[in-house]
Amino acid sequence: LAEPLIFELGSTETTGVDVPEVGEFEMAIGGLERTSEIGCPGLSEPDTVRHYTRLSRRNYGIDMGVFPLGSCTMKHNPRLNEKMARLPGFSDIHPLQPKSTVRGAMQLMDELSHWLCTLTGMPAVALSPKAGAHGELCGVMAIRSALEARGDAREVILCPESAHGTNPATAAFCGYKVKAIPAKDNGRVDLEALKEALDDTVAAVMLTNPNTCGLFENEIRDIADAIHAAGAFFYCDGANFNAIMGKARPGDLGVDAMHFNLHKTFSTPHGGGGPGSGPVVFSDALKAHVPVPFVVKTDDGFDLVEDADDKSMGRLVAYHGQMGMYVRALSYMLSHGADGIRQAAEDAVLNANYVLASLGDVMTASFDGPCMHEALFDDRFLKDTGVTTLDFAKAMIDEGYHPMTMYFPLVVHGAMLIEPTESESKFNMDQFIASMRGLAGEAKAGNVDRFSGAPYHAPWKRLDETQAARNPVLRYSPEE
């Protein structure tokens, strides 16, 4: 059943709140009262609850089943975290309250910083970036600040072809030209090609490690050495940190800056597209350039530094960043502890390799194993079946699963990137594997109809994205 829009359900006369009556008084808004209609309808509370309950039931989330979306680390969101973030002492404090009234908040930021630095072996962290891409921006700006501080005007950033789109976008945002580094047949960076590309125009190399093919860059230290030898900085995209947390520290591998996605690695909710949080850890070479604000220890507790000095890059956000996400991430870390964090990484990698080993005979793995936390397949096994990667993914919906990531990374044809995360049980994995094997078998058996119109059992059939883009309807209008 279709759910109407609120504009079709409500009226501007209806409201789901009781407003205090204020009586007559002389206003002081300079004669600028709004006289036009705003047009926003209201619904009573019962109808509001129903509308959003029904909408929610048209969504698929981690809470419903396996969500093997590669590169996105769709792990369990503990409800404890939600409860902790809602403690009035965290949720009901203002970013500009006197510091004497937010000692616990400063302590929390300091502890979170300590965990992030310890897990990465890095000396400094900037908490404030609002999301992963924002963290990248922070990292690259720190690199540029450091280079400018030493009078070194470099203009190029190197990225592998398999990088997330945010990497080149961020580099361009900071005024850099982006050059691609080729990959080798084994899915890793071509070290020799990298060395050739590295010269004194290169400001930084941005690498994701484990990379977007789900592989660890096994020449990482040679890469780091080469970067540093060229006077450049090594930026690591930490999107895939889940695979190695507690197992290896980026600081031990020569990384100069790395952002986290707290909502991936440390289980703050994806929330249908955010909010995120993208703290960045820095090496000694970059730490002078971190943005304000940050927490420092004082003799009698903590202080917040809010004004930038000469070296700091400045301020990336109003206030102090994503406090609500910090609470959730620290709650996750405290719950797991050092032992549980390592175990989580091991289980994530184990689950991915279990998928790789269990599907390798019916689907085509792009690279030799072992993989890290995600298993990459391509569409060679669909050759001549008439079934595309997209079809295959949509058919997974009919099996009760969210599809894997498709067509990314770009370096293999028709990519299917499966990341189970550590949250999946063997029972779930075995069911998932059986479904995938079943689908692969049906594709090979020529059962094209099973795929071409999929999903059949979702609330909607495939949606027409072309029409949406050609004639964008971005808001409700009554004349429709």
Partner: protein
Amino acid sequence: MRYLPLTATDRQAMLDKIGVRHVDELFKDIPNDVLNPEIDLPRHKSEMEVERYLSRMAAKNTAAGSVPFFVGAGAYKHHVPATVDHMIQRGEFLTAYTPYQPEIAQGTLQYIFEFQTQVAQLTGMDVANASMYDGSTGCSEAVMMARRVTRKKKAILAGSLHAHYASVVATTTQFTDDVIERLAPNPANPEAELQAAIDAIDADTSCVVFQNPGVFGSVLDLRPLAEKAHEHKALLIVVVTEVMSLGLTQSPGEMGADIVVGEGQSIGNGLNFGGPYLGLFATNQKFVRQMPGRLCGETVDADGKRGFVLTLSTREQHIRREKATSNICTNSGLCALAFTIHMTLLGEKGLRGVALANHKAAVDLRDALKGVDGVEVLNSTFFNELSVKLSKDAASVVDALADKGILAGVPASRLYPGEGLEDVLILAATETVSADDISALVAGLKEVL
């Protein structure tokens, strides 16, 4: 570990299937000498232990709801109905991903479409996006968008603009060839702030950024500014940090804005020490393809049934990579959901009512402050926030009142250090401020001043 489902038996069976003896064989690509480092952090804790640990930390903070509370300056304490927080915690919303698979994400997509419409209606603009990180980063995106639209470099930031927003714009553009002209704040004379912004516009100007109500609380008619900007083919960017004001005042769209950037926290979202919040971003139809951020559009499915998809993604980084309009990827989905649910509960009628209650509280505050020696109210216009000049250093007054359990507002010097505003205090009064709260503040001020 309560979050990890694999048992020892499972792990062994899986290792057997993979054909390795130990899990570390799967980590063989990591240099052996850095594998499994000693991590000097505590071991796992039970849920009860974590809850107690974090609750003790939280208890060291003073919750806004527990004291007379007048702190604003871009983040506001409002009453959020219990329904809002209840609904956003439904697992299907909370644990969904960005809606790239529209067949199983119509819940998220439809509420984004509703959100975009509500934001457009509130701001008086044609279209809005699916949200930015917050108001400050949205402001910086707006300046960059103006540059793309006008192909000019100079952005004028009016004195009314929240200091953090101005800093974010300056920081974010420091490695481009944009020219950022920051005008001085002038709490005593907001009309002069407006005139200075008008005067600063010239042929090189890409945009002028004006906050309304301004950071010191004044509400101004921006039509003259819009006229001058448009004469010079510059864009007027209106920043609204208190979106609740749009229930009472004329919209930026009515005043001639080309881009409206808002901080949406006031509707549906708590204070959260500054985040997560949500940036509102609205503009006119003709600029849609220069907009940053996600957009949701209406379409149909294979059966012709109405549905929604993310659209115009050719602007975005995952398609355009280094040529994208912005590097933004994650938005503030869940905060936008809270916003749209609260807006749905309010409706136009409720929003106008709550906005009026806010204004009334601020009028009551102004009237009460007028009777305090050593306090001079600077505003002649305001929505729910106003600035006063004190006979003493505002920061020390705020600290002294905090010791008495009254959170009295934001000293202007915390936002504008070294700008000679040490005696200026910014106070907000929302619908949550009671007559008792105002009496406590007045009594406290009388003791301290």
